[in-house]
């Protein structure tokens, strides 16, 4: 599968919904360590609404499908990750504006816009124990892979590995944002829930094109 169509994106949103449902309790647990424990709930709500929206989407253009799915997410859940995830999809959608198909290079653009959008909205950067620690390495790897002509499948697989490596790396970072930041040095050893979700979302894409 070298290019994705609108139908594929509809399927991906549906897979994101399934993933968020099956991972709900796990994410609640992660977010309960130094957060308010709502992450599993908000992700399930966010992807449920996005998947329902995508399933009904009539047009063939992928850009606006993704962007409007992002808007839908924003309305579904008010917590930090709800807003950030919505931002990511809105920005990624804008990057794909006008496209009816998505190849590896487009996918690299997608995740670059996704990542930069979240970094901008969250005023966060690599090393601050957030979702950016999963997204940034993945976006960078994807860009490299795409420019060296890798297949969509291989590029996404590499991106997924980079994202999970990023999640691992959060286990030695002090939180700079959100509730976990109140814990300061004590937050160091915890795995960041937002980064985890970020990697899981990338994995859904990677698994779909595999």
């Amino acid at each position: 599968m070298e290019t994705l169509s609108k139908k594929d994106f509809q399927a991906i949103f549906s897979a994101l919904k399934s993933m968020s449902e099956s991972q709900k309790e796990y994410l609640i647990g992660l977010d309960s360590v130094m957060g308010d424990g709502d992450l599993g709930l908000t992700m399930a709500a966010v992807f449920k609404s996005a998947s329902e929206f995508a399933a009904e989407y009539a047009d063939d253009e992928i850009g606006s499908l993704v962007m409007k799915a992002g808007i839908t997410m924003a309305k579904a859940a008010p917590s930090t990750m709800g807003t950030l995830m919505a931002t990511g999809f809105m920005r990624a959608g804008k990057a794909l504006k006008g496209k009816d198909t998505v190849n590896a290079a487009d996918m690299a653009d997608f995740w670059r816009a996704f990542t930069d959008g979240i970094a901008e909205r969250g005023k966060s950067k690599v090393g601050e124990k957030t979702i950016i620690d999963a997204l940034e390495p993945a976006a960078r790897v994807l860009a490299e892979q795409a420019s060296s002509g890798a297949s969509l499948k291989d590029a996404m697989a590499a991106a997924k590995d980079a994202a999970f490596a990023g999640v691992e790396a959060t286990k030695d970072m002090v939180a700079q944002h959100g509730r976990a930041a109140y814990y300061q040095e004590k937050s160091r050893t915890a795995q960041d829930p937002g980064a985890t979700v970020g990697a899981m979302v990338i994995q859904v894409f990677a698994d779909y094109v595999a």
């Binding site: 924003a74 859940a77 930090t80 807003t83 944002h177």
Partner: protein, 334 residues
């Protein structure tokens, strides 16, 4: 936890229902969502002013929606940001073509959501500008003003920007005036006791009997000094010295003063504090244009107070003096 409430989960919605029931001629809500509060009378052609933020700070934030100040407010859970979606709905309701200015405090969740709302409003062809208020001198050192928390001083920003909008100025002008107020306002607070978030049910921090914490934030963010409670005059001196040095406010300046109670501290004590503020300003040759004493930004039943100075020029004086009328704040022309 000793509070008049029904269920912690319904705390915010019950509160808003009470507010709507008490002031039906002044406030309403849009999108079938109690938390999207707007003025009952949107004025055609006027720049819309919106704010938003967590609950638990009345009269912040929704208490400043009314004639001569703000037009709309999105309301979050206790100490939680409202959603970008709610902000967007408020924006749509109060825009009448002249655009909308967001004025809100410097808190991560609020910023993220207002940014998002602005982006969504842009997609709906509503012009939105933003001003982030942050004036707590204890929350970040000089040179890093952009990191400072917004607390009671945001009242002054609302007041002058609201009056400017009421004078039918355009969005750029209202934003400029709001930013001027931001640049000229400084606050410092002191807390004596914590408060309880209803859904949590116990205090999120504690301050020992006989202790005070200078510079503590209104959600319990750490201050700059915890120590034995000193006399009112000493506490005020410590706070006001820091404020005066920061801008700095100097001899010949003219200011408005706000002595704000955080919730449980009685007005008697706020005026005892103001006595010393007045004495010190006189010593420094700083002239007082107008004084506000009362609860303008609270943390439910937290006990403590904050002092805010707004340095004035003729323009800010004019806008500060104009009348305003909300269910929580009434001012006749000064």
């Amino acid at each position: 936890m000793k509070k008049f409430l029904n269920k912690p989960e319904t705390f915010v919605d019950d509160m808003i229902r009470g507010i709507m029931a008490a002031h039906p001629d002044k406030l309403t809500y849009v999108n079938d969502d109690l938390r999207c509060v707007v003025t009952a009378k949107v004025k055609k052609g006027k720049v819309g002013l919106a704010t938003g933020g967590g609950s638990g700070h009345l009269p912040l934030f929704l208490g400043y929606v009314g004639d001569g100040i703000l037009d709309g407010c999105s309301v979050g859970g206790v100490f939680q940001s409202p959603s970008a979606e709610q902000m967007l709905e408020v924006t749509k309701a109060i825009d009448s073509g002249a655009g909308v200015l967001y004025i809100y405090g410097n808190y991560g969740g609020d910023i993220m959501n207002f940014d998002m709302a602005a982006e969504m409003a842009d997609m709906e062809d509503i012009r939105v500008e933003q001003v982030v208020a942050g004036e707590d001198v204890a929350s970040s050192k000089k040179g890093e003003e952009h990191k400072r928390r917004g607390v009671a001083g945001i009242f002054f920003v609302y007041k002058v920007a609201g009056a400017c909008a009421a004078a039918m100025k355009d969005l750029d002008e209202v934003k400029r005036v709001a930013m001027k107020a931001c640049d000229n306002v400084r606050t410092m607070g002191v807390a004596l006791s914590p408060c309880i978030v209803p859904e949590v049910g116990k205090p999120s921090f504690s301050i020992g009997e006989g202790e005070m914490e200078i510079g503590m934030g209104i959600h319990g963010e750490p201050g700059i000094e915890r120590g034995p409670l000193k006399s009112a005059d000493e506490v005020v001196k410590q706070m006001l010295d820091a404020i005066l040095a920061d801008l700095p406010y100097v001899k010949g300046d003219e200011v408005a003063v706000l002595v704000n109670g955080l919730g449980a501290t009685p007005k008697e004590e706020l005026y005892i504090m103001y006595r010393k503020v007045d004495e010190m300003l006189k010593e420094h040759g700083i002239k007082v244009f107008h004084v506000y004493v009362g609860e303008f930004a609270t943390s439910m039943e937290m006990s403590g107070a904050s002092i805010t100075l707004l340095k004035l020029d003729d323009e800010l004086k004019t806008y500060l003096s104009m009348p305003a009328n909300t269910p929580f704040f009434e001012q006749v022309q000064l």
